[in-house]
C-alpha cells in the first residue's frame, strides 16, 4: 500500500476460474420448431433456437452483478479527455420515459404536435447556442453528425458546380472520426501539422488550401484544450479559396455562452449532446449529433425537418436535401433529455458550466506533478507521463478509485494523459484525482505494469484477445 490511496475496491464476483459466468453457462435450452405446432411450413422456418432459459430473479442478479462490475460517472470521477463525461441529471430519465413521448414515427403530424414542438424548440435552442441559422436533429451520434455535415458541404459544392473539390483538410491533432468521416464521404484527407504552440500552423494551412478544398474540419478549442486564436484569419483563408469551415463540436463544453462557432466563421457544425448537454453515454451510446448550418447550407440539410406555421408544427423537405442519414429521425430519447437539460440550465447555467469546466481543468493541472506542455488550455489539458508508460499509469490510477484520463493521444504529447474533469467535480474530488496522479507519478515500473489490483478484473491480455478473437459464447465452446 503506497500513497494516499482511497480505500476502494471495485465489485468482483468470482466463480471457478472466471468472474460472473455467462448466461449460457447457467443454462442452455434448445427449442425445436416443428411443423406440427408452427404456423409456418418447415421450409420457411429455422429448425431450432438454443439460448439460456432463466428465471427473472436469476436474471436480476446476473445483471445486478454486471452493473456492479462497471464503472460509471455515478461511481466516481471520469476525466476522459475529449469525452466530456459529466454527471447526468436523474430527472431527464423520467421525462424521456413519459408515455406521451413513446410514439411511432409514422403517425400523422396532427397527432404528433408535442413531439414536433419539442424538436422545433430544441432546434431553436441549439441554433442560438451555436450561432447557427438552421439545425437538424437527425444524426444519431457525433460521427454521424460529422458525416451529415460533410455530405451537406458536398451537396452545396455540387449544387454550385464545384464538384472538383475533392479534399478535406484535417489537423493532425483532430479526433479520428474527422479523418474517417472525410474518407467515408469520398474525400482525400489532407493532414495538417500543428505549429510549435500546438495550434493550426497557418503557413501549412496556406499550403494545403487550394481550389480543391471542400472543407477544413476544426475542433476549437482543439484536443490540447487550446483555443485557435487565429480562427478569424483561418476562416477567411478557407473561405477565400471557396472552402467551407466545419466545426467539430466535441469540445463545445469549453465555450458555452462565451463564444459561438457561427460567430467565428464556421459554416457547419455538429453538437455532441451526450457530451455538452449531459445525456448519459450508456456504455458507448446512444448519443445524438444534431448539425447546425448557416443559411446558405440550410437547403441541403437532411429530410424531413420541422418547421412552425401559424397554427401548427409540420415536417418539410429542404429544397436540395441530401435525404436521410438515419432510417427515421434519430435518437429521440436522447433528444428529449437534451431539451430538458438545456431548459433546466438556461443561459446562466450553461455559461456557468463552461466556466466551472475550465476552472476545474486549470485547477487540477495546477495540482499534479506531471508536466503539462501546452497552455493556456480551457476545459481539458494534456499532461505527459514522461518516462512512464501512459497506459500503465492509467491502469494504476484505477487502484486509487478514479477513472484515468484518455491515454497516448493526441500523439503530439509523448505518453499523453488527456484529462477533462468537467464542471461536475467538486474541489474535494479534484484533490482526490490529483492525489491519484501524484501517487502514481512516484511509483516504479513494476508496480505500474502489474496494475490494476483492485478493479473487478486484473490486467487483461488485450494482445491475445486480438490475436485469437473469441467474440461469442459459441466461439468459447468450440475450444
Amino acid at each position: 500500500m503506497t500513497g494516499d490511496r482511497t480505500r476502494y475496491d471495485q465489485a468482483r464476483w468470482t466463480d471457478d476460474g472466471q468472474y460472473e459466468p455467462l448466461l449460457s453457462e447457467k443454462d442452455r435450452t434448445r427449442v425445436q420448431i416443428d411443423e406440427d405446432d408452427s404456423p409456418l411450413p418447415d421450409d420457411l422456418t429455422r429448425d431450432s433456437l438454443e439460448l439460456p432459459e432463466l428465471s427473472e430473479p436469476e436474471l436480476a442478479r446476473h445483471y445486478t452483478r454486471l452493473s456492479q462490475m462497471t464503472y460509471g460517472i455515478d461511481s466516481g470521477p471520469y476525466p476522459l479527455g475529449s469525452c466530456t463525461m459529466k454527471y447526468n441529471p436523474k430527472f431527464t430519465e423520467d421525462v424521456a420515459a413519459l408515455p406521451s413521448g413513446a410514439v411511432h414515427p409514422d403517425r400523422s403530424e396532427r397527432s404528433l404536435q408535442g413531439t414536433l414542438e419539442l424538436c422545433y424548440r430544441l432546434q431553436d435552442y441549439l441554433g442560438r447556442i451555436g450561432g447557427m441559422d438552421a439545425v437538424t436533429l437527425q444524426p444519431p451520434a457525433g460521427a454521424a453528425g460529422e458525416f451529415t455535415g460533410i455530405r451537406v458541404a458536398a451537396a452545396y459544392h455540387e449544387h454550385n458546380g464545384e464538384d472538383h473539390r475533392n479534399e478535406v483538410i484535417v489537423p493532425e491533432s483532430a479526433h479520428g472520426t474527422n479523418f474517417a468521416t472525410a474518407a467515408l464521404a469520398g474525400y482525400d484527407v489532407i493532414s495538417l501539422p500543428s505549429d510549435e504552440g500546438g495550434r493550426v500552423d497557418l503557413e501549412a494551412l496556406e499550403a494545403a488550401l487550394s481550389e480543391n478544398t471542400a472543407a477544413l474540419m476544426l475542433t476549437n478549442p482543439n484536443t490540447l484544450g487550446l483555443f485557435e486564436r487565429d480562427i478569424v484569419e483561418i476562416a477567411e483563408m478557407v473561405h477565400d479559396v471557396g472552402g467551407l469551415l466545419y466545426y467539430d463540436g466535441a469540445n463545445l463544453n469549453a465555450l458555452l455562452g462565451r463564444a459561438r462557432p457561427g460567430d467565428m466563421g464556421f459554416d457547419v457544425m455538429h453538437y455532441n449532446v451526450h457530451k455538452t448537454f449531459a445525456t448519459p453515454h450508456g456504455g458507448g451510446g446512444p448519443g445524438a449529433g444534431p448539425v447546425g448550418v448557416v443559411d446558405d447550407l440550410a437547403p441541403f440539410l437532411p429530410a424531413p425537418r420541422v418547421r412552425k406555421t401559424a397554427t401548427e408544427y409540420e415536417l418539410f423537405e429542404p429544397e436540395h436535401t441530401i435525404g436521410h442519414v438515419h432510417g427515421f429521425q434519430g435518437n429521440w430519447l436522447v433528444l428529449v433529455k437534451t431539451f430538458a437539460y438545456i431548459a433546466r440550465l438556461g443561459d446562466e447555467g450553461l455559461t456557468d458550466a463552461s466556466a466551472k469546466a475550465v476552472l476545474n481543468a486549470n485547477y487540477l493541472a495546477s495540482q499534479i506533478e506531471y508536466d503539462v506542455p501546452y497552455e493556456p488550455f480551457h476545459h481539458e489539458f494534456v499532461a505527459s507521463a514522461g518516462d512512464q508508460d501512459a497506459a500503465d499509469v492509467a491502469k494504476r490510477m484505477l487502484d486509487y478509485g478514479v477513472h484515468p484520463p484518455t491515454t497516448k493521444w493526441p500523439e503530439i504529447v509523448p505518453e499523453a494523459l488527456m484529462t477533462e474533469p468537467t464542471e461536475v467535480e467538486s474541489k474535494e474530488t479534484l484533490d482526490q484525482l490529483a492525489a491519484a496522479f501524484n501517487a502514481v507519478a512516484g511509483e516504479d515500473d513494476e508496480t505500474l505494469e502489474t496494475a490494476p489490483e483492485r478493479s473487478s478484473a486484473r490486467r487483461i491480455d488485450q494482445t491475445s484477445a486480438a490475436r485469437n478473437p473469441r467474440l461469442s459464447w459459441q466461439a468459447l465452446e468450440e475450444e
Binding site: 460517472i73 423520467d94 472520426t177 453515454h281 458507448g284 446512444p286 427515421f328 433546466r344 487483461i460
Partner: protein, 445 residues
C-alpha cells in the same frame, strides 16, 4: 459542506469558498481570466433561454409532450412497439450501466463488456453467422455499412448494389448517402406481390453487382419465400448477399446462414425499446472471413493476470481512433445501452418466449387479416403471401380518409397507397383488436 452553493449550473458542486481557493491556486482573479478567446469572437450576448427549477422543467416537457394525441398504434414498417418487461427498465437503468462510457479500461468495465459479449452471442445464435458487432445506429445505417463492407471485400471491381423496389425510403436514402463517397450506385430490383421477383432479379444480376439486399419479412409484412434462391444468385455473381431482419423474426424464420447470407443487418430495437419515434439499434453480423473488415466495436474474451476469463474491446485497429482515414467505419459512439436492453429483453423471454412471440407474429397477423377481410369495403391481405406482424389491406374508400376517420376514433394506421392501408399487431391487445375491427367496420363502408 462548506460555504454556500453558487448560482449557475445546478450540477456544478462548487461552493464560493471552493471557487475562491481554486482561483487562488491557479493564480487568477476571476474565471474570465482563464478564457483565451480573442475579443473579436467573444460572445457577450444571451441565448434568451430561461433557467428553470427541476419541477418547472418537468412541467414544461410534460406540457409539450401532452400535445401528442393518445392513439392506439397499429403501426410497424421498420419500427415496432412490443411490450418491454419491467426487468429491462429497472436493470438497464442501473446507474453504472447508464452513466458509463465506451470500455477503454476493460478492467473497470467487465460488467458492460460481458453484457455486450452476450448480446453478440445472441445475434450469432439468431443469424448462424460467426461474428456480430456490439451495435450500429439503426437498420438503415447498418445497411449503409454493409454496402461499404461489400465494396471493400469483393474480389473484383463492381459498382452496383441491388435493393428491392419496396425498400423503405429512409433506408434507401441513408444507403445512398453512405455510398455517395464510393463508386457504388444503388439500383432496385422488382418485387412481385410484396416479395422478390426472383426471375427479374436474375435478369438484373451481372458481374458488376457487389451486393444484393433482401428483407425477411419485407416492408409489407410478407415472409420472403425465396431467400435461398436469392442467396444463390448473389453468390454465383460473386456478390455479397445481405439480409435485413430483426431478432424476433429471426427466432422463427429461416436462419440466415442456411440461406447463404453473408451479412445480416436490421433493427434489434424490436427488443428492448418501446416505440420511441424511430430510435433504433442497428444489428450487424457477418461471416468470420470478413472479421477484419467489420465496422464498429467488437467485444472479445481474453484472460487477466490471474488467468480468469475477462472481456475487452478487441481488433480496435479497424477503428477510427487508431486507423483514422483507413478505418472500416467512422462510428465512435454507438447504441451500446440499447444493445444491453435488447439482450436483457431476449434473456427475459428465453428461447421459448422468443419463439412464441414470433409465432404470434404470424398467427395474429393472419387472424386480423381474416377478420378485416370480412368487413364490407375491405379486402385483406392484399398480398397472397404468408405474413409476419403486419399486412396490407385494400379499402374501397380513399385510404387517407379511412386513416383520418380512424385517427378520430383513436387509432393510427399506415396509408401505403390510394386505397391501401397497412396494419401491424405487435403493440395491441386482443381486446383492442376487437374494438378496432368494430370501428373499422363503421368507417370502411
Amino acid at each position: 459542506m462548506h460555504g454556500s452553493h453558487t448560482t449557475g449550473s445546478p450540477y456544478a458542486p462548487h461552493t464560493d469558498d471552493d471557487t475562491a481557493a481554486m482561483l487562488e491556486a491557479v493564480d487568477v482573479d476571476s474565471v474570465d481570466d482563464l478564457f483565451d478567446i480573442p475579443g473579436d469572437v467573444r460572445f457577450d450576448g444571451e441565448f434568451g433561454i430561461d433557467a428553470r427549477t427541476e419541477a418547472e422543467t418537468r412541467e414544461l416537457v410534460e406540457g409539450i409532450l401532452e400535445k401528442n394525441e393518445d392513439l392506439t398504434e397499429l403501426l410497424g414498417r421498420g419500427h415496432y412497439g412490443y411490450y418491454v418487461p419491467s426487468l429491462v427498465d429497472h436493470l438497464s437503468d442501473r446507474a453504472e450501466f447508464l452513466t458509463s462510457y465506451t470500455q477503454y479500461q476493460p478492467e473497470a468495465s467487465q460488467g458492460f463488456l460481458q453484457a455486450l459479449f452476450e448480446y453478440q452471442s445472441l445475434l450469432v445464435e439468431l443469424t448462424g453467422l460467426e461474428v456480430a458487432n456490439c451495435s450500429m445506429y439503426d437498420a438503415a445505417t447498418a445497411l449503409g455499412e454493409a454496402a461499404t463492407l461489400a465494396d471493400r471485400v469483393r474480389d473484383t471491381d463492381g459498382h452496383r448494389v441491388l435493393v428491392p423496389d419496396l425498400l423503405l425510403e429512409g433506408r434507401r436514402s441513408t444507403l445512398e448517402n453512405y455510398v455517395a463517397g464510393t463508386d457504388l450506385s444503388v439500383e432496385t430490383y422488382p418485387t412481385d406481390d410484396a416479395t422478390a421477383d426472383v426471375d427479374a432479379l436474375a435478369g438484373e444480376i451481372d458481374e458488376d453487382v457487389v451486393m444484393v439486399y433482401a428483407e425477411n419479412p419485407t416492408v409489407r409484412g410478407a415472409i420472403e419465400e425465396n431467400l435461398a434462391a436469392i442467396g444463390k444468385l448473389a453468390t454465383d455473381a460473386n456478390a455479397l448477399f445481405v439480409l435485413g431482419s430483426d431478432p424476433v423474426a429471426l427466432s422463427l424464420l429461416q436462419r440466415p446462414a442456411d440461406v447463404g447470407a453473408d451479412v445480416v443487418v436490421g433493427d434489434a430495437s424490436v427488443l428492448g425499446l418501446p416505440t420511441s419515434y424511430g430510435m433504433g439499434l442497428g444489428l450487424f453480423a457477418t461471416r468470420e472471413q470478413y472479421l477484419r473488415q467489420v465496422p464498429g466495436r467488437l467485444v472479445g474474451a481474453s484472460e487477466d493476470a490471474t488467468d480468469r476469463r475477462a472481456y475487452t474491446l478487441t481488433l480496435q485497429t479497424r477503428e477510427q481512433h487508431i486507423r483514422r482515414e483507413r478505418a472500416t467505419s467512422n462510428i465512435c459512439t454507438n447504441q451500446a445501452w440499447v444493445a444491453l436492453r435488447s439482450a436483457m429483453h431476449a434473456a427475459a423471454l428465453g428461447p421459448s418466449g422468443l419463439v412464441d412471440l414470433a409465432k404470434r407474429g404470424v398467427t395474429r397477423a393472419e387472424e386480423l387479416a381474416a377478420r378485416v377481410d370480412d368487413i364490407v369495403g375491405v379486402t385483406a391481405p392484399v398480398h397472397d403471401r404468408r405474413h409476419f406482424r403486419e399486412f396490407v389491406a385494400h379499402v374501397d374508400q380513399p385510404a387517407r380518409a379511412i386513416a383520418d376517420d380512424l385517427e378520430n376514433l383513436g387509432y393510427a394506421v399506415h396509408v401505403v397507397g390510394d386505397h391501401e392501408i397497412q396494419l401491424c399487431v405487435t403493440g395491441v391487445s386482443d381486446a383492442t383488436v376487437d374494438a378496432f375491427v368494430e370501428d373499422l367496420t363503421e368507417v370502411a363502408r
